[in-house]
């Protein structure tokens, strides 16, 4: 009951204080541990080139993770984001091939993303269907639709615009990939919104306890509806970055991407039950998993071991986090 209220009051203190007070610290330690471990064991891991590469690779999950986390915080789930990645790449690439305009391509992609967000949001918030079912359904529909439309063939980026290629190859100051810059800026904007704007508080309240949120005068349905649109638009941005990285619209793009993002988000302390968590935590969750997979690759570990270890770490991290939370509640 009081969880939503306590969250809105927590939004005040400085970044550092919150970091220390909550689980972000544990996550940060975990991330440092991962980086330290691989710096010692994996050749070439701790190099500017490799670290910035990982940031570029993480930009997809970071961007989509923001939306995923916000939907979680509102008490819903969105597992359609993987299929969305493949879907929005179609208008993006097709429009760019036709018009040679990055702006038009991106507009087309965002329009598609918006429509998908509206559909997911409407069916969940207004038609009242369980969001897991809705997004499971739209996940199948979109993936199948992409397969049908493309005949299961990738569509190449024939326009090959310099501005689009820069999304994949370009680096700010020749160091940080632009894709990572985009992800970090978006993260900062949304983290600010979640902590310091009324809408952020509304999301926590709605996810924490819809009844209370309603009594407090919030439009629960509207808040959830908007969260789905945010999620779809951010996943669209991730989809655009992915399309640039693979230079094409891929019908299999984003397969299992939703698992990756959901795992990272929950690892980052964003509860599936709603009302709990922070975007900083989500970002740390994404980085931990990304550095982990990069490091395991660097060690030359075969896929099977990478899978086994990643699985164990996800379970262990969430279990550890739960134990800590229970101790905190108990004490």
């Amino acid at each position: 009951m009081s969880l939503a209220a306590s969250h809105s009051t927590k939004a005040g203190p400085s970044m550092l204080a919150r970091l220390l007070a909550r689980q972000e610290l544990a996550l940060l330690l975990c991330l440092i541990l991962v980086i330290a471990f691989f710096s010692l064991t994996a050749e070439n891991f701790f190099s500017v080139r490799n670290i910035t590469n990982v940031l570029g690779q993480a930009s997809l999950a970071l961007t989509a993770g923001i939306g995923c986390a916000i939907v979680f915080m509102s008490g819903e789930v969105d597992i359609s984001i993987g299929s969305l990645l493949a879907t929005i790449a179609l208008p993006l690439i097709i429009i760019m091939n036709e018009t040679n305009s990055l702006l038009l391509g991106i507009s087309g992609a965002l329009l598609f993303g918006l429509i998908i967000g509206v559909v997911n949001g409407y069916l969940t918030a207004y038609a009242g269907i369980n969001s897991l079912i809705v997004t499971l359904g739209t996940m199948f529909i979109m993936r199948g639709g992409v397969y049908l439309y493309t005949g299961q063939r990738a569509i190449p980026d024939d326009a090959a615009l310099d501005s689009f290629i820069a999304l994949s190859d370009g680096r700010l100051f020749n160091v940080i990939p632009y894709s990572a810059v985009i992800a970090i800026v978006l993260l900062a904007v949304f983290a600010y919104m979640m902590q310091h704007r009324p809408f952020g508080r509304q999301i926590y309240a709605v996810g924490g306890n819809p009844e209370v949120a309603r009594l407090a005068g919030y439009d629960v349905r509207r808040v959830k509806f908007i969260c789905f649109i945010i999620s779809a638009l951010l996943a669209t941005v991730a989809g655009i970055i992915l399309a640039a990285r693979v230079g094409s619209a891929q019908h299999t793009a984003g397969l299992n991407f939703e698992f990756q993002v959901v795992a990272a988000t929950v690892l980052g302390g964003v509860s599936l039950a709603g009302g709990v968590g922070s975007l900083t935590g989500m970002a740390l969750g994404v980085l931990i998993l990304q550095f982990l997979s990069n490091g395991l690759r660097g060690l030359g570990l075969p896929t099977e071991w990478q899978l086994v270890i990643t699985g164990m770490i996800i379970i262990a991290a969430v279990a550890f986090d739960e134990a800590k939370r229970r101790r905190a509640i108990g004490g």
Partner: protein, 354 residues
């Protein structure tokens, strides 16, 4: 039934219940109100969602058979039933599990692993019994592991079983890099997938038995009532002195054992233990269960619904092939049906309440 509560349901419906979160508090009266009446609905011949599904199924069958008369051939019906059997076996366990408000995404990965282990044991022992026991022991252990992680370590089951899924996907390749071939050539093993009892394929008979057992447990036993109660309001059940964790553990293990049986049937059908098998199987199973009206929130659902859900999905799958349509539709159509069926169910509920 409280009208207000019912109308609110859909808004709440997106939430996952986790064991420890205090905001899911409900009192004891809520337990009796939310779980017991629903059980009665399930107890009637056809609940609302089953009725919707039954109509959908009938329409599908009629439409497909008008367009393609081969749909009603004996061979095709047997092919559909055999495909349904695998899904239904696992879905029987999964229904129980989802009723307790938990879920298991590792069943697809486990299905592949079980088949490899069963086949390897068969190869070295030449005993169907030992092969089956090994498969059941393994899959039961996977279920137990999932259950312990969820109930003891309090990890959300969606995440815990994604973790297990990854471990099993990796683990099966550590166990074998190639498909485990059938070197034992036991006839009884081949019968497991391809055999018949009378005119009915053996896997269908096995699925029917498991289905009946699970349905009877849910409907007629105290255990079944507790499973519903745990899903509807775990806290209340715990307060009333029942060990709710044990019940969830039970449901996880049962799901695991079902996977063991299905895995052996699949490896018999393929005549090999295939480490690549079962991809996406978990989504088919879960889709069938929720299509059948079992709520992911827990506390509500029935096996009859699950049976209809399995049939609808597999008839669609089969129909698309029989009609010679683009097989990519095998993804699009179930997606639409899942959303539509759930929506129709909600509309019916609203109409009833209003």
């Amino acid at each position: 039934m409280q009208t207000g509560k019912q109308v609110n349901r859909p808004v709440l419906a997106g939430k996952f219940q986790t064991a420890t979160l205090p905001e899911n508090e409900m009192d004891m009266s809520e337990l009796t109100q939310s779980s017991a009446p629903r059980r009665f609905i399930g107890g009637q011949l056809l609940g609302s969602s089953q009725l919707v599904l039954g109509v959908i199924l009938a329409v599908l069958c009629i439409a497909i058979s008008i367009a393609a008369p081969q749909f009603y051939s004996e061979a095709n019906i047997i092919a559909i039933l055999r495909q349904c059997a695998l899904v239904l076996i696992v879905a029987s366990g999964m229904t129980m599990l989802i009723i307790t408000a938990e879920v298991d995404l590792s069943v697809g990965a486990s299905l592949a692993f079980v088949g490899c282990i069963g086949m390897a044991v068969l190869n070295s022992t030449h005993s169907l019994t030992l092969g089956l026991l090994a498969a059941l022991a393994f899959s039961g252990a996977v279920g137990l592991f999932n259950g312990l992680v969820v109930t003891r370590l309090k990890v959300n089951s969606l995440i815990a079983t994604i973790g297990t899924m990854m471990m099993l996907q990796g683990g099966v390749y550590l166990f074998t890099r190639e498909a485990v071939q059938n070197h034992h050539r036991l006839a009884s093993f081949t019968d497991l997938g391809a055999g018949y009892i009378g005119a009915i394929p053996l896997p269908v008979v096995i699925a029917a038995l498991i289905f009946a057992l699970a349905a009877a447990t849910l409907r007629f036993t105290t255990l079944g009532r507790y499973l519903y109660a745990v899903g509807a309001n775990e806290r209340a059940v715990r307060l009333s002195g029942v060990r709710s964790q044990r019940l969830k553990l039970f449901a996880f293990v049962v799901t695991g054992l079902c996977v063991g049986i299905a895995g052996m049937i699949l490896s018999s059908l393929m005549n090999a233990g295939q480490p690549t098998a079962g991809r996406g199987f978990e989504l088919t199973v879960i889709a069938a269960v929720i299509l059948g009206g079992t709520s992911l929130l827990g506390g509500r659902g029935s096996l009859l619904g699950t049976l209809l859900g399995v049939l609808v999905l597999k008839v669609i799958d089969n129909g698309i092939i029989i009609l010679g349509w683009n097989q990519d539709l095998q993804m699009v159509v179930p997606g639409i049906v899942i959303i539509l069926a759930t929506y129709l169910d909600i509309v019916r509920n609203r109409a009833n309440v209003g």
